[in-house]
């Protein structure tokens, strides 16, 4: 009953609730603009004429739309290769990260076993190691075993980086898949593995897809390790970073916009699992 004032049915809109509403939407709009305006502006810079970046003062309206800057960027030496490398590394991270992490997530969700809490803690705390302290010794090791400056080497460190998140997310996903269904399948004669493959896995697929997208975006964005571990086999962020000193502004702006494209889709797929990733660990 107390909720009636809070939800504010039309006829009972008091002055206070009207003021509240205005303040609420005002604040939300302001914070929304703070988030969106910079993205709009980089899009404006990326889809203007190349030399327009040196014009002053600039127009804030999309008057000079042109694909010149973007096509200059895409056709610059090394960009297409680095985009291809980035996609390969990100897909490799999905495959390696999920194939290692999913069984662990399943085990955390389904079994009580000695050392379970310890394992959980180890996974959670492995999220906190700075990428610098991992990539420098790994570079030394990779030089020794021939993985330095290879895409596989980058895939490996990116998988290590996302693995703790994948274990936690997939544990949450399998937690949400009813174990009774698996048990039912097993009473009907399938093996445990068969029950997993035919019952749990299909039901968990949307959640696993979210974990995959998380892995993709994390790898796509990572720059420190990708730079330390490669010389020629650059990913896109490593390529852009290496050229920061020499490249013209319009190249950087186009590259910046290009790199944020996946983030527009990220949240659509991740919405349900956001709280698993960074929320209080269960």
């Amino acid at each position: 009953m107390t909720g009636a004032t809070a939800t504010g049915r039309r006829p009972s809109l008091t002055r206070r609730t009207v003021v509240d509403r205005v303040l609420l939407y005002g604040a939300a709009t302001l914070l929304g603009l703070w988030t969106l305006l910079p993205i709009y502006l980089i899009a404006l810079a990326a889809f203007g004429k190349s030399l327009a970046v040196y014009e002053f003062p600039k127009s804030f309206l999309p008057t000079g739309f042109s694909t010149e800057t973007m096509s200059f960027f895409v056709n610059s030496t090394g960009v297409l290769e680095s985009v291809r490398n980035s996609v390969i590394v990100a897909l490799g991270t999905i495959v390696l990260g999920l194939s290692i992490g999913t069984p662990a997530g399943y085990a955390l969700a389904r079994f009580r076993f000695p050392g379970r809490d310890l394992f959980h803690l180890a996974v959670l705390s492995s999220k906190m190691f700075p990428i610098a302290i991992l990539s420098i010794p790994l570079a030394v090791t990779f030089i020794g075993i021939g993985l330095y400056d290879t895409l596989l080497g980058v895939v490996i460190i990116h998988s290590a980086m996302v693995l703790p998140f994948i274990v936690i997310v997939t544990a949450g996903v399998f937690h949400g898949v009813s174990r009774e269904l698996e048990e039912a399948a097993m009473t009907l004669g399938t093996s445990r593995f068969g029950a997993f493959m035919r019952v749990a896995l299909p039901l968990a697929l949307p959640g696993l897809a979210a974990a995959a997208i998380f892995a993709f975006v994390s790898s796509w964005n990572e720059v420190f390790a990708a730079t330390i571990l490669t010389v020629r086999e650059r990913t896109l962020p490593a390529h852009v970073l290496a050229g920061l000193n020499q490249s013209p502004l319009y190249f950087k702006f186009a590259g910046g916009f290009f790199m944020i494209i996946p983030s527009f889709f990220f949240i659509f797929f991740m919405r349900r699992y956001l709280f698993n990733l960074w929320g209080p660990g269960r």
Binding site: S126, R192, F224, G256, L274, G279
Partner: protein
Amino acid sequence: MAVRAGRALPFPARFARSDAALPLGLLAPTIVFLTLLILIPVAQALLLSFQATEGTLGIEAYRRMVHDVAFADSLRNTLLLLVLVVPVQLVLALAMALLIHSRFPGHGIFLYIFALPLAISDLAAGIVWLSIFADTGYMNSALAGLGLATEPINFLSYENLHLVLLTIIVAESWRATAIVLVILLAGLQLIPREYFEAADLFGASRMKRTLLVVLPMLRPSLQSALIIRTIFAFQTFAVVLALAGRQFPVLSYEAYDWYYNNRNEFIAAAFAALILLMTLTVTVFYLRLLRVKDAEIQR
């Protein structure tokens, strides 16, 4: 084997009482992977940092790190960014989280907008704000358009290091507030609705309700947010490089520079070890600090 043994048991016990071999087998790849790629590299990095040259132990690398011309600046800048950025992120994220949590019509769209930077890299964020703070960028255009500045301001010049710092703070606050938002929203959802309703019933103003009811109950989430943001603040790297280049040294950049440009993995490892040490110190500090307060409340 495990399945056959399970078949004799009633259903619910089958999962719970299966032997430990299966879960351990499922965990094994993760354990091996994390050992090989996190545990051993960390040990290796520490070992590297205590070698001056191949094979000899000593603190030579640390001595050279401390005497690096950029050491004091990079340490100060890293700490400065931490101290200035994290509070801004917390306040912004708290405002966003409380707004979303009030579930006004349309809050879903705003959650999508607020969370957009979640998947934007620090390099891309640096470049986004470069387009705004460059000499001929949008900020100067706006200032000129509004008649607030007669000449473009050099936000990113080494002559105005406090302005450079400001642009980095803005970019980092813009990018990483989203993670804090998600953590705080998750925490808000754990607070029973009754607490909000009870506060309303007693006529508490929205401000009072936030300060006296919501914030204390949000402490665990604030704690995780603080820890996660601090860990990442110590790793600030590409956003600084995109906006300021070499003129604003930070610890991560020094580690990168020593390895990549000077090819000295020992001093690079020393910088990385320093970052790790600071990360651990601050994490323990937060855990302690916030736990003590818990004990006080219970009294």
